[in-house]
């Protein structure tokens, strides 16, 4: 079976691994396939007549397919086209031939390697262990456009470009790697351009000459966040992994990636740059194919009508108890294991089975009154193996002490974890091919019921719930009541719910932080001391936020330690004073004060003069390109300014900083630590002011 698919000169090359390298088989007769269904007054025969003579079409015929998981087979047009490019152009063309929605297209937007494997029933699992070559070129070297040094498998090659390329070329030939791991995909064009300018014609990174650009760089918005997607390149016979653009390799390892190659049918190169949603979609596409179901290009299927009252119930979102703001001693955390995926599997929540016609009127989903078909849906079938396989891996992990095996299992388990974590959100995502908002609502409704029932059981057994979010509850013993041991309660709940409730952690204390301008608790801001371990848990507070400077994060953790030791507001304030003194001495290493911020839009679209804007302006005048979705690192030097002089870039090497600005940041960080105990910013500054008065007094008297 091939591990890499290349499209070259109208042919497809299937690369298979051999004992000492790889070889390819050329396929010159491959024709990609798309499908069309007709609706309204449009007619299949008319369409067939038009397509039969279309230059992009090799063959068209009527076949029986299901246009969605909830449909039976019907006649649709199968269209085999001349090339990969023809798929998209023809799809646009056809949909324009009638009223919008009359012609609907299927199997259009598949990634190229995946499409080939899918249509030819190939599983792109590598047949032996893959050899990886790491290749890195510094951003500054790339910018300077003169390739004088690079890193190969951590060895530095340097010299004039010609020498560097010759050494690299030799290395590639000698080691013949299957995977090229690059620090950025820009390395590919940079190397070939360098080779061209020194007439090094035979230079090649692939197993055959030439390289291709698959996609240009782009900026996208997803889940309300802006991301940057770098350009993608291809070389024959080798899989390219761009370290700056690989979710799964960065979150797991090669073993985790190969596991997902097998489950999703996406060859390694495509898997490496895929998002979680893409992989989940690929798994569902494979399931669809097994069931003779086509994959819609555009989501025409809309939700069914419901009353505003139903929507009002459904809109309540994920489950949360209001956290009991404050510091609680002796707290236990209980978590449901993979709650959402398990709800999908055990409650049969599947897009084609929810609100089915055959059980209309039955109220299966608590609070919403939706019915769910008795017939098993496809989504539980897709997710169940992920859950059980991961359970098996976790069990083996607990038992094995084979270091190599541990690495493999951990990688595979965390790759699967990400799919499971996302399968719920996917159902509510508007562009998800197989998502359905009613599934999203039903999962929430079941989760709410499960958590409420669990709370009741806990309370009936002598425990008080101090907080609960999504799939976790935090409990303390009720004083003066007898407690059923938690081990027993988790057993009871697990049996009742059919999803395992696990004992997650014991904390000496945990503090739930209120919202900054309110008495109400922030849902995901808390910190606590893990019992019997030298370890703390931080969620949502400054030290966990990406943008927070190292200095502030360290100070906050230190104040939390002081709180652990003394359980006293003033002890924390005393600690804060020490950190303030360090700051005010003006002698800190500026690198500790660097703020990292994600760029959310191009510079000219910002309308307010923020620190971010100042940093972007500075970057621009220095010729450093910062795209939306990328980070910009800076230090605040004078927050009173509105110009680019307000900040300095981390790379500028300045030595001064705005003490007052960072002082405020420190106090805010202290407020997060102290607000659970009722002290707000005003109380803290008052305490600091009193101290100043006292020290002045002392000074005057002395």
């Amino acid at each position: 079976m091939p591990f890499k698919i290349d499209y070259r000169d109208g042919d497809v090359l299937e690369w298979t691994l051999t004992d000492d390298g790889a070889e390819y088989v050329r396929n010159s007769s491959y024709t990609p396939t798309l499908y069309v269904s007709v609706h309204g007054r449009a007619d299949l025969v008319d369409l067939y007549g038009t397509l039969r003579d279309h230059p992009d079409v090799v063959h068209a015929r009527t076949v029986e397919k299901r246009i969605g998981f909830r449909y039976d087979s019907e006649s649709v047009l199968r269209v085999d086209v001349t090339s990969l490019d023809a798929v998209t152009t023809l799809a646009h063309e056809i949909s324009g031939w009638a009223k919008p929605g009359d012609y609907r297209l299927y199997n259009v937007d598949f990634s190229r390697e995946f499409r080939y494997c899918l249509e030819r029933d190939l599983s792109p699992i590598p047949e032996r262990e893959l050899s990886v070559m790491e290749l890195a070129v510094d951003e500054s070297v790339l910018a300077a456009d003169c390739l004088t040094k690079l890193l190969v498998d951590e060895e530095r090659l340097s010299g004039d470009p010609e020498a560097v390329l010759a050494k690299l070329s030799q290395r590639v030939t000698d080691t013949d790697p299957d995977v090229l791991m690059l620090n950025t995909s820009e390395v590919v064009p940079a190397l070939y351009q360098a080779a061209e300018s020194c007439d090094f014609d035979e230079f090649q990174l692939g197993r055959l000459p030439e390289w291709q650009q698959l996609a240009g760089e782009s900026t996208y918005a997803s889940y309300g966040r802006v991301g940057h997607s770098p350009a993608r390149f291809n070389v024959p016979g080798r899989a390219i992994v761009d370290r700056s653009n690989t979710f799964f390799w960065s979150q797991s390892n090669l073993d985790g990636c190969i596991d997902l190659v097998e489950r999703s049918g996406k060859p390694l190169q495509e898997l490496a740059w895929a998002s979680i949603g893409t992989i989940l979609t690929a798994m569902q596409i494979r399931e669809a194919r097994r069931r003779n179901v086509l994959v819609p290009w555009h989501s025409w299927r809309h939700e069914q009508l419901k009353t505003m009252r139903q929507l009002h119930e459904a809109d309540r979102g994920g489950f949360t108890f209001a956290p009991d703001v404050g510091l609680h001693e002796d707290v236990h955390e209980l978590d449901f294991s993979s709650l959402y995926p398990n709800i999908i599997v055990s409650r049969n929540v599947s897009p084609e089975k929810i609100r089915c016609e055959c059980h209309a009127g039955r109220e299966d989903v608590p609070g919403l009154g939706y019915c769910i078909c008795d017939e098993r849906g496809y989504l539980p079938d897709v997710l169940e193996p992920l859950i059980t396989d991961r359970e098996t891996m976790k069990t083996e992990l607990r038992e094995t002490d084979d270091a190599e095996r541990i690495v493999e299992l951990e990688g595979r388990s965390s790759a699967i974890k990400w799919i499971l974590v996302s399968c719920f959100g996917y159902q509510g995502f508007s562009n998800a091919k197989f998502g359905r908002i009613e599934c999203h609502e039903a999962i929430n409704a079941f989760a709410r019921e499960i958590l409420l029932d669990t709370k009741e059981t806990l309370e009936a057994n002598g425990w008080r719930v101090v907080h609960g979010i999504v799939d976790s509850v935090w409990v303390t013993a009720v004083e003066g009541e007898e407690q059923t041991p938690l081990a027993e309660i988790t057993e009871i709940v697990t049996a009742d719910v059919g999803i395992r409730l696990e004992y997650e952690a014991h904390y000496d204390w945990i503090a739930f932080v209120p919202l900054r301008n309110s008495e109400a608790g922030a849902l995901t801001k808390y910190f606590g001391k893990v019992a019997a371990e030298d370890d703390y848990k931080y969620r949502g507070i400054e030290c966990r936020q990406r943008s927070t400077p190292q200095f502030i994060a360290t100070a906050q953790k230190d104040m939390i330690e002081a709180l652990d030791e003394h359980r006293d507001v003033k002890a924390v304030c005393e600690q804060l004073k020490r950190w303030l003194q360090r700051l005010q001495a003006g002698t800190l290493d500026v690198s500790e004060l660097v703020i990292t911020n994600r760029v959310s839009k191009p510079l000219d679209e910002y309308t307010r003069t923020t620190r971010n804007v100042a940093a972007l302006e500075r970057a621009e005048t220095r010729g450093l390109c910062r795209n939306p979705g990328q980070n910009v690192d800076y230090v605040v030097v004078d927050d009173s300014k509105q110009t680019a002089d307000r900040v300095a870039l981390a790379t500028e090497g300045v030595e001064e900083y705005d003490i007052e600005f960072y002082r405020k940041q420190l106090i805010r960080a202290a407020e997060s630590v102290l607000s659970p105990l009722g002290w707000r910013e005003a109380d803290i500054t008052q305490y600091l002011a009193d101290y100043k008065d006292i020290s002045l007094q002392t000074f005057g008297e002395g």
């Binding site: 309204g40 646009h92 949909s95 324009g96 009223k99 919008p100 929605g101 555009h298 989501s299 025409w300 299927r301 809309h302 939700e303 069914q304 009508l305 419901k306 009353t307 505003m308 009252r309 929507l311 009002h312 809109d315 508007s430 562009n431 908002i437």
Partner: protein
């Protein structure tokens, strides 16, 4: 329709055909109030094809004199241009003799997204506008639409419009202006009503005291004094 107290504030009556509501963006709840008022006067349910979260039940639930009223609004939300289009295509089957109103907020919203090619945007909006025209011809019921922007793209929609109602925000509160209609600023502000939401609440309670009284006996309506 004369069961309302004589001093009750007026809201525009929605006639059969397409009505375009042009509301000041800050007049939150204007659309919801018109819809609720209509279904409280007429008996049949409303069908609401939602775009971009206009159907968020929060506003509607706040303005409604009774939660039971919400059972009479049937909603389906579009999340993509294609879903919106197919909801419009299906409207002739969704709407029946019982339906007393069709609501189409931000009709153009999805046809402005980058998900569509330029030509497709125009084509889909035109097709949508035609479907509305057909619906208006087939059923003698009011169809209430709003648009995100008045420009070339939405011209085909405006060509189907029979009446325009504006809702402007004055410093005393919102008021409606139409071709043959101009509502007064309702004298129920008297410094007590702080938000437009609270304003609509009072307007609807006053106009439909029976429903309001049945569900919220603790609230005394202005009109009863």
């Amino acid at each position: 329709m004369s069961h309302r107290p004589s001093n009750s504030p007026e809201l525009p009556t929605l006639d059969a055909g397409v009505t375009l509501l042009e509301a000041d963006q800050r007049a939150t709840g204007a659309l919801q109030s018109l819809v609720l008022d209509h279904i409280l006067l007429e008996n049949g349910p409303a069908v609401w094809v939602d775009a971009k979260g206009h159907g968020t039940t929060q506003t509607l639930a706040q303005v409604a004199p009774s939660m039971r009223t919400l059972d009479r609004v049937h909603i389906a939300r579009a999340f993509t241009p294609w879903q919106h289009q197919s909801l419009l295509r299906d409207l002739t089957e969704t709407v029946d003799e019982q339906t007393s109103l069709v609501v189409l907020p931000s009709f153009d919203a999805f046809y402005r997204t980058d998900d569509l090619r330029r030509g497709e945007r125009k084509r889909m909006l035109e097709a949508g506008a035609r479907l509305i025209g057909t619906l208006a011809a087939d059923y003698e019921i009011p169809i209430l639409v709003t648009q995100c922007r008045t420009d070339v793209l939405t011209a085909p929609l405006r060509a189907k419009v029979d009446a325009v109602v504006a809702c402007e925000l004055t410093k005393f509160g919102p008021r409606f202006v139409g071709d043959e209609f101009e509502s007064l600023v309702y004298p129920i502000g008297d410094g007590l009503v702080q938000t437009t939401i609270a304003f609509w609440q009072r307007v609807l309670e006053t106009r439909h005291p029976a429903i309001a009284a049945a569900t919220k006996p603790e609230v005394s309506t202005v009109g009863s004094h």
